[in-house]
């Protein structure tokens, strides 16, 4: 069976939007409450490889994309979760993927997205005395033009 069909069958109604804009790239939007379940299905049951997570700051929301690699098919599946713009927080996935600790810490300190229940949510790239509430990758902090 094609990967697309397996994904649709396994994730079922948790899929809010399914997009396959280009060859071998699949983007699936889900609710933040179903992230743990969807990630478990993809990472454990379907044996995908954890690649990384990308945090994005939009005008009216935050967004986290969890990228998984299906190497036999050469496909990248990205789980997309939208978060509240004033209080961006989401459950950590460290219980499932130990290696995700570092990107969660990075996304927290650079974008201010809080990962609940990450056992080690402290500064990783920035200095320990970095001022609280200053998130350099947010859009209201301008880079040098």
């Amino acid at each position: 069976m094609e990967l697309k069909n397996i994904l649709i069958e396994k994730l079922g109604s948790k899929i809010k939007e399914y997009k396959e804009p280009t060859n071998r790239r699949i983007y699936i939007t889900i609710d933040k409450d179903s992230l743990a379940e969807c990630a478990r299905i993809i990472f454990k049951d379907m044996d995908a490889r954890y690649i990384v997570a990308s945090g994005v700051h939009n005008e009216d929301s935050f967004e986290v994309l969890y990228h998984f690699g299906f190497d036999k098919q050469g496909i990248v599946v990205s789980l997309r979760v939208y978060l509240d713009k004033d209080n961006p927080e989401i459950e950590s996935l460290v219980w499932l993927i130990p290696g995700i600790e570092y990107i969660e810490r990075e996304t927290w300190e650079l974008l201010g997205i809080k990962f609940l229940n990450n056992p080690n949510l402290k500064h990783f790239l920035l200095a320990e005395d970095w001022p609280e509430g200053n998130y350099p990758v947010r859009k209201n902090i301008k880079g040098k033009k």
């Binding site: 490889r49 990384v52 990228h67 993927i97 995700i100 990107i103 790239l125 920035l126 200095a127 350099p136």
Partner: protein
């Protein structure tokens, strides 16, 4: 627990790159490892948001001097993925040649450094000497020994002419016999075997948990290689194979890297045959980047480089996420160095090829006395070299 930190680094003129690991030790055994990064964080993802799409190619080239072709490659793959663009065939071959030359020079560099950490300075001198013709060849083809600026969105910046192809072939002949010799030296030496076999073992489950990639994953029997799994450039047009090993120790990581060198030579030779005496386009025209998102991957020397770009139709990316292979490979020594002795830590850390062995300063905590002292990277290397000396003397 108060720790005393000697102000030697993380920045210091003698160090290659700044990074900081804490080893928690019980006597000579390592019981836990803590990784501190960020001393070299330059905010490239943020800078990228204020550059033109074309400029970003040359910005990401400066992420790392050793993989200075890998990041542009993954970035251009990402933008071309967003565009749905297929680049000219000749450009595909040229991209492949540059990528494989880079893999060769980096694996030589790694073998040299591994030799140095183990107290085999002759291996170090030889490997780095053999690497030189590759760098000279880079200068001939691209104009720079490092930071080649060869890749552009839509193709490549410069063509390779027949005269350069001839020079490349000659260089490859030399390289293959040297690689052959180096492989034999490295793999047949009983002392090296004693130092590397069953040291720093990484299981398949560890690889999965940390998402490790490249030679680190392949040495543990995880058969992944983006060049084959998600083909780009000319990797699906030439004949080559993915090297894997089963044990997951440092020795197998070395074997994978050395044997990959031969595959690289094979790939470059085939590419040269295909582009010799032929002319062709090397650049597809790209006028605008429409709104959308793209993911680009490239199997760099250390594993998969991953770039995610998003466009709103303007002249710069609105978000550019970069994940280098060391980001997922480095944390694996939370698994591979635990239970090992301090003298083996140097080569275990070096085993994942963490963008040079960028572990200059290591703090050692004694788990029994709860006291800590700082130990410099040269001290750790010395410990490792002494162990090899002892092995040589007493068998």
């Amino acid at each position: 627990m108060k720790k005393v930190i000697v102000p030697l680094g993380p920045y210091h003129p003698l160090f290659e790159e700044p990074e900081f690991f804490e080893l928690y030790c019980d006597g000579e055994r390592v019981v836990d490892v803590e990784w501190h990064a960020g001393y070299n964080h330059r905010g490239i993802e943020k800078i990228s948001e204020s550059k033109h799409w074309d400029q970003v190619t040359f910005l990401v080239e400066r992420i790392c001097g050793i993989c200075s072709n890998s990041h542009p490659m993954a970035y251009c793959n990402a933008v071309e993925n967003l565009l749905g663009l297929d680049i000219p065939e000749r450009a595909k071959y040229i991209r492949t040649i540059i990528s494989e030359m880079e893999r060769l020079h980096s694996h030589f560099l790694w073998v040299g450094l591994a030799g140095h950490f183990l107290g085999y300075n002759t291996v170090f001198m030889w490997a780095w000497k053999y690497r030189e013709p590759l760098l000279d060849m880079f200068e001939v083809i691209t104009g720079g020994r490092n930071n080649y600026s060869m890749i552009k969105i839509g193709g490549v910046r410069r063509d390779i002419n027949d005269q350069q192809i001839e020079m490349l072939r000659k260089m490859l002949d030399g390289i293959s016999s040297q690689l052959n010799m180096l492989t034999k030296v490295f793999l047949d030496d009983p002392v090296l075997q004693a130092r590397l076999v069953n040291v720093g073992v990484l299981t398949k489950q560890d690889v999965k948990n940390y998402g490790a990639v490249g030679p680190v994953a392949r040495a543990s029997g995880v058969d992944i290689d983006i060049r084959r799994d998600n083909p780009y450039a000319a990797y699906n047009l030439v004949d080559w194979k993915v090297i894997t090993r089963e044990n997951g120790d440092v020795f197998d990581k070395a074997v994978v890297r050395l044997l990959e060198g031969f595959e690289s030579v094979k790939i470059i030779r085939q590419c040269l045959d295909r582009i010799e005496h032929k002319k062709g386009e090397i650049l597809a025209e790209v006028r605008e980047i429409p709104a959308g998102e793209g993911i680009g991957r490239h199997e760099a020397l250390r594993g998969e480089v991953f770039h995610y770009v998003r466009s709103d139709g303007s002249s710069s990316p609105v978000r550019h996420k970069i994940r280098a292979p060391s980001y997922v490979n480095v944390p694996t020594f939370k698994k591979s160095s635990i239970g090992q002795t301090i003298s083996d830590v140097a080569i275990i850390l070096a085993g994942v090829d963490p963008c040079y062995c960028c572990t200059e300063r290591v703090a050692i905590y004694d788990a029994n006395t709860k006291k800590s002292r700082d130990i410099t990277w040269p001290e750790i290397v010395k410990k490792s070299q002494e162990k090899t000396e002892q092995l040589k003397k007493h068998g």
